[in-house]
């Protein structure tokens, strides 16, 4: 038995949703216990930058943002940046600079 009374092969409670954001082509929200991730897809569409355009090829641009305070104890994670980033994502604005912890983590993932 573990700290949260799960068996060793048991998952946390899982919630799965699709079709959250109307201005994107595809979107989903996956929640495992306290971990919550929103993913959204735009395209495939004609790229405005010519280096992404190659015959018979699909360029994929993956962008990972963190919308929480990256502290060691999760108890201090406030709901304010979460609400702000959710509202930003819902508006579909690409310049999400007012998210507190905007951080590109290409090199990790």
């Amino acid at each position: 038995m573990r700290g949260d009374l799960r068996l060793s092969t048991e998952f946390r409670p899982i919630t799965v949703e699709t079709n959250l954001i109307s201005c994107k082509d595809g979107s989903s929200c996956v929640i495992y216990g306290k971990t919550k991730v929103i993913s959204s897809i735009l395209g495939p569409k004609q790229s405005k930058i010519s280096k992404f355009e190659r015959f018979n090829h699909l360029s994929i641009d993956v962008d990972v943002d963190l919308a929480y305070k990256n502290s060691m104890d999760n108890s201090t994670s406030s709901t304010l940046p979460t609400a702000a980033s959710s509202a930003n994502l819902a508006q579909g604005s690409s310049n999400s600079n007012n998210i507190l912890m905007k951080k590109k983590i290409f090199q990790i993932y």
């Binding site: 060793s8 092969t9 048991e10 991730v37 897809i41 004609q46 360029s59 993932y109």
Partner: protein
């Protein structure tokens, strides 16, 4: 052509990489982008503690190298673990149907189904193989959830229900 995927981690309480992969795959299915297969991702940690009340088939009984594999760790378990494995596994229809057949079929699936493996920490090779087998066994729950989500979405869409 350009396809842009935007992943936003709202809150992180452990195993955020497999959840991000699962969310992206679900969003790709939601967008209706044709794919050769669909994958599900899972995170497994190698824990040092041993609990005799928990009847786990994957735990080793030797006292020298007693270990336990734990599925879907939270951040506390990730911090205390010896090693951590992340697997992405192909979950097509053919694999789900062939699950009831003999074990030879299952062993041949074993190598071909793993698309991604990211491991950190110190472990033996048989721990990695046991973790991969445990991942393939527990991936059924996740693939069933994804399937149900897509089926319920298709039922809701007006263009399909009218035809």
């Amino acid at each position: 052509m350009l396809l842009s995927i935007h992943v936003l981690i709202i809150n992180d309480d452990g195993s955020s990489l497999p959840i991000a992969v699962n969310a992206s795959i679900l969003a790709l299915l939601d967008a209706g982008i044709p794919m050769l297969c669909y994958i599900q991702s899972i995170s497994i940690v190698l824990s040092s503690y041993k609990d005799n009340n928990d009847h786990n088939i994957d735990s080793n009984n030797d006292d020298d190298n007693a270990y336990q594999l734990i599925v879907d760790p939270c951040s506390e378990e990730e911090r205390q673990c010896k090693a951590m494995f992340t697997f992405s596994i192909v979950c097509n229809d053919s694999y789900n149907n062939s699950n009831n057949k003999d074990n030879n079929n299952k062993n041949s699936d074993f190598a071909t189904r793993i698309l991604l493996n990211e491991s950190t920490g110190r472990f033996d090779h048989h721990v990695l193989i046991n973790a991969a087998k445990l991942a393939i066994d527990s991936i059924q729950t996740l693939s069933k959830l994804t399937r149900e989500a897509i089926i319920s979405k298709l039922k809701l869409s007006p263009s399909l229900s009218s035809s």
